[in-house]
Each structure stands twice: as C-alpha cells, then as structure tokens.
Point group: C2
Chain length 585, copies 2
C-alpha cells in the first residue's frame, strides 16, 4: 500500500518555507480573479499563494503604521475577509487587532493566516515523506533564532514568522512514525475541539462561567464510570492536569476517608500510613506520597512476575508485615497498563486483599484505562469495578489531545469534603441556580482548564465503537510487531509472550554482538546500542521510539502504539530503520 | 464614542443561526465566480454564504457514505481547499478525516469550517450589542439539547452543530462587559498561540519531545525572574496548572528546604510546622496545607488592616506565639493583590520579619504580579525581590488565555531535589543532548501542558511596554469607577480610599434602603441586593460582575477590570445597569 501522503504534498521537508512555488495555472486564475470586485480576487490569490507571495496586479500598499487594510472593502457581507491579501502585517501590531476599534477585518485576516500555517503543519504531520523532527541541540536552537523577550512590540508579520519558526522545530506528534510516548497522534476532531476551547477561554470552577463545559464534564464522567462498571455510572470524579495529579488525588481522598481529621490536623495527628504499589508502577505514586507528607519510604513496592504484574501473595505478605510494625495500610495502587511493559495487575485478587484488610483500592489506568472501550480487550481490567478510585487518561490510548486525565471516585461527596474550603468569593451560597454544579470546591486547583470538551466531542464523533476500533487496531499492530521480531535474527524480547497492551519491549542486537557470550562486556556494549540508535533516529528525523533500562535489564526499546495513523508499513519501517541505524554498532 | 462593534455585525444575537441572509451582490459574485475552474467558485461562495447555505449552480452532491468530496479538484496546488463547499458533511464521519487515506481535502474543509464558526464567535464576543451570556438553568440546559455519549458515531455535520450549540450557551469571556473574574478578555495573539499549541500537541516533560517550548519556558521564566528583581534573572521555576498549584509548590519546596528528610520519611519525622498568611489571602494556602499533610489548623491567619493588608506586627506576634508552643514556622505567604480587595501586603516589612526568623517568604502575586510590568504601579510590590518564591499568573492581569501560572523560585535546583524520582523510562541519563533542559523531574505533574507559548507570543507581540499600557489602562478604569461612585447617591464603598489594584468593592443601596437606619433589618435586606441584581444581569445577559460577603460585611459587589476591551463607557454601562436592575429592590 502506498502511503497516503507521499507524492501528494509538493512542499519540501523544511517547514520554514511555507510558500510553494506557484504553478502557472494558479497564476492565471489569480489574474482572472483580480477582475472580481470587492477584493475577492486578492482573497483568492492569497489562498493559492500563501503568505509569502503577494497577489499580482495589486497596486495598493498599506501605508506605514496604518491600522486598516486598504483599499476599503465595498462588499456588504461582514465580516467578509475579502481583503485578507491586502493586509500588510509589516505595519500592523497586536494593538490593531480586536478589541481595537474597527479591528474586525485585521483580526479575521490575522487569525486566518495563523490557521493557514497550522493547516499546512497538520497536513504535513501525516505525510510520511516529512521528518518527524528537525532536530537541533539546545544550544544550537537557542542560537538559531532570537527567542528573547523585549520591551518593544513586534509586528504581526514577525508574529506570523515566530509561529512558522516554532513549528519548524516542533516534533510532529501526529506523524505516523512517532511512537515515542504513550500519547501520540493528532486527532482532527480533538484538535477542532481544543481550538473551540481556546476561543471560549473559560474556567471550570463554576457553572456560572462554564455552563456547558460543566455539564459536559458531568455527562462524560458519568459515562466513564459506567464503563468502569459502577452501577448507573454513580460516583464522583474530576478532570485533572494529568495522571500524576489524578493519582495524587486518589491518595489524598483515601487518606481523608480513613482519617478525616488529617485535613485540619495534618499527618502529625494520625498513625503512620503506608501505601502499596508494584515495582513497575508509575513514579507518580511515590511523588504523590512525598508531596502529601506521607514520605516515599511509606510506599512499599510489591514484587512483580516476569511480565510486570504485581504478585498478590507478595502484596498480602507486605500488608501483614506493615501492620505488625504498627503502620496503617491505607492504599493499594494497582496498575492497569504499566508504563514500560504494559502489564495489567491482577485486579480481582488485589480487590480481594483490599476488601479483606479494608484498604482503599486505587487503579492507575492512565495508560490501560482506554481498553475499557474495547469489547475484545476490556477483560484485562476485570476487577476494576471493585476499585474505590480509578485514573484514566483519555489523552493516552484514546488519542485525545493533551491534557485529558480523569480521576473517577466510587463514593460521591468525598472529594468535596476532602478539598472544600468554602471560599465565599467564588462559591457564593445564595446564587440563583443549583449549586451542585459548581465543581471548584472539590478540586485541588482553583482555576481549572477545560479539558473535557475535546474528549466529549471526539466521543460524539467516533461513538464508543469508533474508539473501540481505533484501540483494537493499535493492539493488533503491536501483535504484528511482536510476531515479526520474536524470532527474527538480531532481536531479543525483554519478556516472553504476546503483549497485553501495545507495549513491545525488545533489544536490537547488532551483528557484532550476536555471537558474543552473554557476559559483562556484552551487557555494557548492548547498553549503548539503543541510545545511539535513538540519537541517530532523531538526527535523521525519520521516526522516534523510546528506550530505557529497567531493574537489571540494560537499555531496551519500548515500542508503544497509540497513534491511529500508524500502519503495518510503519511498523516495517521502524524495524528497517533500527537495523539500518544500528547495524554498524 | 460609538462602540466599535455596533452596527457592524449584521447577525442576530442568536449564535445558532450562523448564516446570514445573502445579499444580492454576494449572490451575483457567486454566480460569476462559478465560471472559474477548479472549484474555486465554490470555495468563494462558501466563504460568502457560510455553512448553512450551499453555493448556487453546483449540481454535484456527495453520494451517501462517500468519503471523498466531488467533483474531484483539478487544481495543482495542494492542499487547495478549493472544494470546501462541495463537502457534504451529512455523509462524512471522523474516519474520513486524516489520517484517512486521501483525507487531506476533507480535513482542511472541516477544520476551516470549525474555524469559520470560531471566527464568528470571536468577532461577536467583542460586539456590545450581543449578550455576554444566554443563560439557562442547569436542568433547562440539560434538556435543551441531547448531550449524551453513544455507541454510534455522529456525522461531521452533527459535530459542527455540536460546536455551534456549545458556543451558543458559552459565556463570552472576551465581551467588553464581562467583569466576573480576575481572568477576563480574549487576546487575539494569545488565541492564535493557543491554537498553535493544540496543533503541536506535546508535553513539557522533556526537551526531546518539546524542544522549542522547553526553551521558551526557560527564556520566559528567566525574564519573569528579572522583572521580580532577582539579579540576572537567576533562579528556577515552572509553569503550573493554576495559582493554587503554584502556591502548593511553594509550600512543598519551603518545607523541603527546611527538612529535606520529609521527602522520604514524611511529616511524622519532622516537627510540627506552621505557615502564616493573611485573613484576606487566597484559600489555596489552606487547601495546600490540607493536601500536604500539614493541616489547615497549622495555617495561621494574620489580621489585616481596613484595606485588607496584612499587619506585620500581628505576623511577628503570631510567629513568636507559635515558636513558644514549640511549632516551627516555615512559611509566610504574603499576598500581592488579594482576591477581593486587591490589597498588597507590605512586602518589605514582611521580608524583614522572615529574615529575622529565618522563614521562607512566598509572595502570592497570582493577581497582582502583573503590575510588575508597569513602571507606574510596580512599587506596590516593593520587597518582592526579597521573596524566596513568587506565584504570578499571566492568565489574570496580563490577559493570557487560561491557564498560565508561573511559580518562580529564587534558589536553583531546589525544585529538582524536592520532586525528582529519577524515572529511568522518561529521564534517561544517557541521551545525546544536554539533560538540564529536561524539566519533568522537577514537576509534581508527569505530563504537563504547554502553557508558555501563549504568554511568550503575546510578549513578543506587545513587548513589555504593551503589557504595561494594557495594565495601566485597566487601573485607570478602576480609578474612574471609584471616582464615579464614591460620592454617588445609592453607593457605599466597602473600604475607603483609591483602589490599589483594579478591585473596586461597593454596595449598591436601592432607594427603599437609603433612608433606613443602619440596623439588622437593613443588613439582612442589603445582603439580598447583590445576588438579585447579579441573577438579573445573567438573565438579561448584559454584563457580569462578582459579589460576595466578607467577614462581617454582607454581600457587596467586587468589580475587577482585567479585560483590555473595557472602556469608560462600559463602566458607565455597568453602573446604569446596576441601577436599572436594582432600583425596585
């Protein structure tokens, strides 16, 4: 199959040159279009030529410092955008944009020009013939352009140039060969929703100033709780700025549930708490414990099996041990989809233990929660319905633009009791509408960005079945990769067996290491292979995939697939590229 | 002065009707334009007519379920967008958008149509003849439209309708008469920057995946530290999801600086800490103390003078008292710009006390920090350069789109030591570039949204002097309001004297209360005045301003001006509106 983008896009790989060479036909159209009144011809030409080239046959030039485009538009449809091509940004500043008096046309033109730059970037992001990254070292990049902030304003022309330059050096995270993080891809409906969110520019703390978004959060969280398996979608929750904060919320609420006096009196007034999570869990559990005054020493890491799943018998042993020492176990954070191996902890066995010892069960499904959308794969989270709280990041496996992370809590009202401070200047109690829709006092944040709209709109556009298809496809691709390399010469798998999530962990063994004995020298050479290949990938800009050491395992590649743009051919490309870049090592 | 928008925009106040009636001239152009080849005429007509009306003389209709617009474009400039008007969204789904094979044209058309909706919304936001809000009670709004999430996908036509409906019920936060929060206004360059940020869709944790944005954060934080007055802009910092989290960071770092063992061992291992802040300070100080395991009882509220400024002698007295009880004072959180009164605590006197008792001095300048941009007003923050940490929210007084909050820390490296967890899968130590640019391990968050670009681009566009002019104008308007009502019949000021920030706090006294004695009955009636006027404002949708009680003071209006679109006439309008809506109470 030919890659969809190849051959379609006539521009070079360099994003700095936003304007392509103008084909003769377009020039001819442009000349014909000039005969139209009202500046329509100019508008047309600008669309054809981009910003860098001015339309032909237009004598008008904006006077220095002029706030208004000339000649004045005579069409009677406002805003018409007719004169976009006449706006000379070299003489305009941000003060010429709205709310400037009569700033409508300049504003529309300027925003449209930014959008044209963005549309070019977006379309190019999906084109396999462009680079994922135009890599520069930090010092190079600092010197490449003047990024400094000054006293005096820049012109709008310079602002448009800043936008182009920024995108030139950005990573194309929507590129079909960008596999570097758990969050990859660029969803078009999600992007549109994020643009709308920016234009609405509001804050989630009250219904008063975010009526629709507050209701959409309500609707969406209820739906997510339904998918978790809580009857009727009952419970509570919030969208938070990322999985680490969601996990911290869970820890905070679990502590409050057991010792509500901690809110006023602090940790000094309660027994020493301990939390449990697996040795493969995300570092945010420890980070949260440090922040909340619990301390990282009180996070006990439970052993995992060779696939990275928590061993329930070890959990129970460590709980008993802690209790014997007089500590109070208050939280088990199970992981549904670990960061490196993509492992799912055995939630049913863990739920049994939590029930037995009356411990809050949290499931960190930041990465794996998306599988709840798939009838084929959701069994991997069996037992999640018994959790007290669940972290689920739609910005990972569901491809929602960053950030979008939900914390779901089974018991309603607990978040509010735990976090409320009754600020009368924000949460007035004598307002004229139902105050239960004011969500701000249950949050740790005061102001809170609208993260829900992009998820809601994508869900409307795809339906649950659309998310399911997208996720199933990514898992199928991971299996394809696994099957392709498990017996291939030059590869060693980090763990045996089919991947449970889209994480495929492997070493590439360059020819020079293949016949070596498995000794320390080989390890120390193998350790350097992935970093060098990765550095070369970035310098060529062809693809990006992550690597890391883990425990006694030296640097290995962790391939993850959450990018809906990826195909079998992209997986083939990745393998070819690793071999091309690593064969001499 | 006539309001810039009035009479310009021919559409009604109802955003649902996106298409205006087509003027005859436009129709004539449209027919002429049809003669152009390559679908250009259609494009032109669509621009003129909006989405709701199809262009004339186009016989082509998309077949049911067709993923491709017809007729096929023959122009040789890609992407051309020529065929926007031919795309029949009723038969298209999100699966027809990129990364769909040959999805470029459909994608460009769809995103352009979303942008057209947004541009209309943006321009209308500044038009005083439109409502600030089309208010509906939560239950009404839930019933007004089907917001539910389903298994099956919606068409792109329905998605565009969802966007229009969402905006119909949204608050126009950029409206010149929206004064409800500390964050108001809609900056056009900020909006453009936020759109770019969404298209780049990346994460701040490493230079690897956000090279430009990481450098811009570095440049911008350094500049902000310079403005605070730290030599050479040295120090540390981070953009966090809001002022409450920034304040929590400060508390976390202050605690770690004094007792680094708290990270591993928790609060159980260290003495009982106490923090000090004024009774007018933001609730996030207490919220942070609750979360960090310090407890709200350990936040000692210092008395304020009648203008809402912390009384330094009371601070010193309470510090000594706490020490006598054996507690350890670890943090003073001074406020530069309180939420309700806009008061600036006396930072120099507080700095002296902090120095004397070796306590971390934090300045919560979430609201007042913006005044550092103004040569005329920055003296109000004199002493801020002696702080150990500063919260400063550019999304408030500087009008940057939500969210944009910076925490600045004087000592470099402390944030990293405090928060780092050395996750090897994210912060590999053998990468090929300078790792000091990987910011993720000093954050509480793992994934972190790019909040810096909108501030950086606005700063480039305005220059420091542009921010200064914008801020000075808001303060001048606040003074205008103060002068207008201080001696006006029917008004009482909550505190005497010129406002220090843009907060103007006052009661409106309806005629029926003006001759009443100052007794309990009058208080109980006055208490209800502001809520009723506010409810009426929202129902009419003409303006929005906040009210609250404070201490023994019953509900009063807190007017704040951070909206660059506001003019003297808008202040006049607000006063007229309060009197119109409140005269019968």
């Amino acid at each position: 199959m030919a890659s969809p983008g190849s051959g379609f896009w006539p521009f070079g790989a360099d994003e700095g040159s936003a304007a392509a060479e103008s084909p003769g036909t377009a020039r001819a159209w442009c000349q014909a279009a000039q005969k139209l009144t009202g500046g329509l011809g100019n508008k047309l030409c600008a669309l054809l030529y981009g910003d860098a080239e001015k339309p032909v046959e237009t004598g008008a030039k904006a006077a220095p410092g002029a706030a208004e485009p000339r000649p004045v538009c005579t069409c009677d449809k406002k805003p018409c955008g007719c004169q976009k091509a006449d706006v000379n940004y070299a003489f305009l500043h941000s003060t010429d944009l709205l709310p400037a008096c009569n700033g409508e046309i300049t504003t529309m033109s300027f925003l449209q020009d930014v959008v044209d730059i963005l549309l070019q970037y977006v379309v190019k992001s999906f084109d396999r013939s462009t680079k994922v990254i135009d890599f520069h070292y930090p010092n190079e990049l600092l010197q490449e352009y003047n990024w400094e902030l000054a006293d005096q304003p820049q012109t709008l022309e310079e602002i448009l140039l800043n936008c182009r330059t920024t995108l030139k050096y950005a990573i194309k995270t929507g590129h079909p060969r960008y596999f570097n993080q758990l969050s990859t891809g660029l969803d078009m409906v999600g992007l549109a929703a994020d643009w709308l969110t920016s234009a609405a520019n509001t804050n989630m703390f009250t219904y008063e100033i975010a009526p629709v978004f507050v209701l959409l959060e309500y609707v969406t969280l209820r739906k997510m709780r339904e998918m978790v398996g809580w009857p009727g979608g009952c419970g509570d929750g919030i969208f938070s700025p990322g999985g680490a904060i969601s996990n911290m919320y869970a820890m905070l609420i679990a502590r409050f549930k057991m010792f509500p006096e901690v809110k006023e009196k602090g940790m000094a007034a309660i027994p020493r708490l301990v939390a449990f999570t697996s040795e493969h869990s995300h570092f945010s559990v420890k980070k949260g414990a440090a922040a909340l005054g619990i301390g990282t020493d009180s996070v006990i890491l439970i052993r995992c099996d060779e696939r990275g799943k928590m061993i329930p018998s070890d959990l129970e042993r460590r709980i008993l041990e802690a209790k014997q020492k007089g500590f109070v176990p208050f939280l088990v954070s199970a992981t549904a989809g670990t960061t490196v191996y993509g492992a799912f902890d055995p939630l049913i066995a863990i739920a049994d233990i939590c029930k037995k010892y009356k411990i809050w069960m949290h499931v960190d499904g930041a990465w794996g929660g998306g599988l709840l959308m798939s009838r084929k794969h959701k069994w991997k989270l069996n037992g999640v319905e018994r959790a007290n709280s669940v972290t689920w990041n739609p910005h990972k496996m569901m491809g929602v633009p960053l950030q979008c992370s939900a914390l779901l809590v089974r018991e309603e009202g607990l978040m509010q009791s735990c976090n409320q401070m009754h600020a009368s200047y924000l949460f007035q109690q004598d307002k004229h509408y139902d105050l239960s829709y004011d969500t701000g006092d249950k949050a740790l944040q005061c102001g809170r960005h609208v993260d829900v709209f992009k998820l809601w709109l994508m869900w409307r556009a795809k339906g649950t079945t659309g998310f399911e298809a997208q996720i199933d496809k990514c898992l199928e691709l991971a299996e394809y990769l696994y099957n392709k390399i498990k017996n291939r010469e030059g590869y060693e798998m980090v763990f045996d067996g089919k991947p449970q999530h889209t994480n495929v962990c492997f070493w590439y063994i360059p020819p020079s290491l293949r016949s070596m004995e498995d000794n320390e020298e080989r390890m120390s050479r193998l350790m350097k292979v992935a970093p060098v290949i990765k550095a070369r990938m970035m310098e060529y800009g062809t693809t990006m995939v992550s690597y890391q050491p883990l425990g006694d395992k030296v640097n290995f590649f962790r391939m993850v697939i959450s990018n809906p743009a990826a195909t079998h051919q992209d997986i083939d490309f990745l393998i070819d590229e690793i071999e091309r870049l690593g064969q001499d090592l």
